[in-house]
């Protein structure tokens, strides 16, 4: 039983067996190739096709023989002559030289296909076997071992199943085995197949050989197997490298897509947070920088992928023009990047500090609290979980009004003799010259709220929308007269710069630790009340040590 194909040669329809069709097709391709550069090649090929059609129709006998077989095709082709004959004919005519079998020593590259004739699931392993020129059994073994010990075998198999095309046609199958797709090999291939069918019946008796004879071969086969296994492992490793590089490239593309403005609605930096480096780059050349970053990272990746594919699979996917093009783009991209990097660095050259002083309503004691500006809603800081912080921060970015950057540093110092309690805010920023830096510092937003004894500090300074990050910092000095009491909230501890707030808190019993710690401004600086109560005799020195900063400031 044979599958037939219906073909049309110069308007005449023929039923032709599939194998015969493959032979005919490859013959016609060779003929066309041969005449491709002659004048009127179309007419010549047309004449030949016409004659073939005529010879076919002479062979068809209605009701008796309606299908063109491989034998018919071979006879017709022989009568028409092979391309080899044409070449000789053009040289002059009939010669008696023996036709050489070309293509026998063809060492062309094999192509990776799935072998549909020898498959367990998708024919991946047998296809790999053909590709690597080893028996499918060994590939299957490696695949199973990979699955059992590394767990990746399954994934690799599925990916290959999807990616690798099945060998559907005879020429695919021949490319898979590394045979040159010419007429001789088609015949050979076909004959082998027929032999194989016949062989199946006779081989059964032959296969039971005495074990001793096989033993010698087995050793040799083992050595071959080890060598091949090593090559396979190398190729697998190479494939994984290629896979990893491709994943990196995809990741990079995703990063760049997400960096497109307006994605996250804040018009700057896409979905990235306030610390993302894009905020260091002025709006005017931001897009250029994104593109330059993309190319300067993507091109080496692409080059590595191509190199790895070439080394592992012996396939050259791109020509040298492509390579040169990439190199030029890469040089331009890195050059652009370097230029903008220098431009940006220039903007960090000078730094300026603006100082604002504010006299507080005097009170015998103050409470320091922190307003966390990263929170949309004022929630109880002790109740929110890690999850809700994530939600809050994300929603804050979406709001996109401000960028919060640089947490505040608070130090407490002793006021001058008879001086009023004061708040000194120092805004600092950098710029390409002092004026720019000072203006930048002036644009920083920071507020301290006083309600009688309660001072609420913002946790961070915020920058207006569109402001670049230029090392902006905020420092607040709280200057208190001697004898003033200070209560620090739990939140405030980590913003205090010259107090060992946590050490003080350790002196409180467990149940009070979440509350306020009590401090007193003395002539020697701020003292932790709990600490001095606990260790009255011998802790004076350590308190002095703890307050080194405020002492130092006093000396100024």
């Amino acid at each position: 039983m044979n599958k037939t194909i219906i073909i049309n040669i110069n308007g005449i329809v023929f039923h032709i067996e599939e194998d015969a069709y493959e032979v005919l097709r490859s013959y016609m391709i060779e003929v066309k190739k041969h005449f491709a550069y002659t004048e009127d090649s179309k007419e010549i090929v047309g004449d030949i096709e016409n004659r073939i059609a005529e010879m076919f129709s002479e062979r068809i006998v209605a009701g008796k023989k309606e299908v063109i077989t491989i034998a018919d095709v071979e006879e017709v082709c022989a009568q028409m002559g092979s391309v080899k004959d044409f070449e000789r004919g053009e040289e002059g005519g009939y010669t008696d030289t023996q036709q050489t079998t070309y293509g026998a020593g063809y060492t062309g590259t094999r192509k990776l296909f799935r072998d549909m004739d020898d498959k367990v699931f998708g024919g991946v392993c047998s296809g790999l076997g053909h590709y690597l020129d080893i028996e499918a059994l060994w590939v299957r073994l490696v695949m199973v071992l990979l699955f059992v010990f590394a767990g990746t075998g399954f994934l690799v198999y599925i990916i290959l199943w999807i990616v690798v095309p099945p060998a559907r046609t005879r020429s695919d199958r021949m490319a898979m085995r590394g045979e040159a797709p010419n007429l001789q090999n088609f015949k050979k291939n076909f004959e082998e197949e027929m032999e194989g069918l016949r062989g199946n019946f006779t081989m059964a008796g032959e296969s039971i050989k005495p074990g001793l004879v096989k033993a010698g071969d087995a050793l040799e086969q083992l050595a071959n197997f080890i060598a091949k296994a090593f090559i396979i492992l190398l190729k697998i490793a190479g494939a994984l490298v290629v896979f990893g590089l491709c994943a990196a490239l995809v990741g990079l593309i995703i990063c760049v897509v997400l960096a497109i403005p307006n994605w996250g609605g804040d018009n700057y930096g896409g979905v990235y947070g306030p610390d993302f480096p894009l905020y260091y780059i002025p709006e005017t050349y931001k897009n250029m920088v994104i593109i330059a970053v993309f190319f300067s990272l993507a091109i080496p990746l692409i080059a590595l992928i191509l190199l790895a594919i070439r080394m592992v699979f012996n396939r050259r996917l791109a020509g040298s023009y492509f390579g040169f093009g990439l190199l030029i783009i890469w040089l331009v991209a890195t050059g652009t990047l370097a230029y903008y990097a220098i431009q940006t660095a220039e903007d960090f050259r000078e730094d300026a500090t603006i100082v604002k002083e504010q006299v507080l309503q005097s009170a015998p004691q103050y409470y320091i609290d922190i307003h966390d500006v990263n929170q949309i809603k004022q929630t109880d800081s002790t109740t929110h979980s890690v999850d809700s912080i994530g939600v809050i921060i994300r929603s804050n970015k979406r709001m996109g009004k401000f960028k919060n950057f640089g947490s505040v540093g608070i130090s407490v110092v002793k006021a001058e003799q008879g001086g009023a309690p004061k708040l000194i805010q120092e805004f600092r920023a950098r710029g390409k010259d002092f004026e720019v830096a000072a203006k930048r510092a002036g644009r920083m937003v920071y507020s301290i709220n006083q309600e009688e004894q309660h001072l609420t500090f913002d946790s961070h300074s915020t920058l207006p929308k569109g402001e670049l990050i230029r090392d902006q910092r905020i420092h607040v000095k709280l200057s208190l007269p001697v004898g003033t009491k200070l209560f620090l909230s739990n939140d405030a501890d980590r913003y205090m710069r010259n107090l060992s707030a946590w050490e003080c808190r350790d002196n409180y019993p467990e149940e009070l630790r979440e509350g306020y710690t009590e401090w007193l401004m003395t002539s020697e600086g701020l003292k932790c009340m709990a600490e001095s109560a606990n260790e009255q005799e011998d802790t004076r020195d350590s308190i002095v040590d703890n307050n080194v900063d405020s002492l130092g400031l006093r000396k100024h």
Partner: protein, 119 residues
């Protein structure tokens, strides 16, 4: 190489001359031309003939007409043109000259072996 090249050149001219001669006898189909050439042992496969016929046709030495055939597609029947006739006439003369020249050159060679071979 030189030998092959000479052989090629010689055959090429003769082949075209023969094809023209065969066609000059009357309208003829390509595969009939080939069977005559096969007998003459000049050509063995049909495929070789088509490029030659096309070349002669392009030089307007031949023309063809389509004729219906009982089996298969319509066939191209080749016939010689007046220009072809003239060329053929010239070639006939050249051939006779060549035969004479070759005969003279090979038989009258001063070398003894050649005389022995060809007499």
């Amino acid at each position: 190489m030189l030998v092959e090249n000479t052989q090629t050149q010689m055959r090429k001219g003769i082949l075209e001359y023969c094809i023209l001669s065969i066609i000059s006898r009357g309208e003829i189909y390509a595969s009939d031309i080939i069977s005559e050439l096969k007998i003459a042992r000049l050509l063995v496969v049909e495929g070789t003939l088509y490029p030659l016929l096309t070349r002669l046709k392009n030089n307007e030495l031949l023309s063809y007409s389509w004729k219906e055939s009982s089996a298969g597609p319509p066939r191209k029947y080749y016939q010689i043109t007046p220009a072809g006739q003239q060329v053929l006439k010239a070639l006939d003369e050249t051939w006779n000259e060549l035969v004479f020249a070759v005969k003279t050159a090979t038989t009258w060679s001063p070398k003894e072996e050649n005389k022995a071979n060809h007499s």
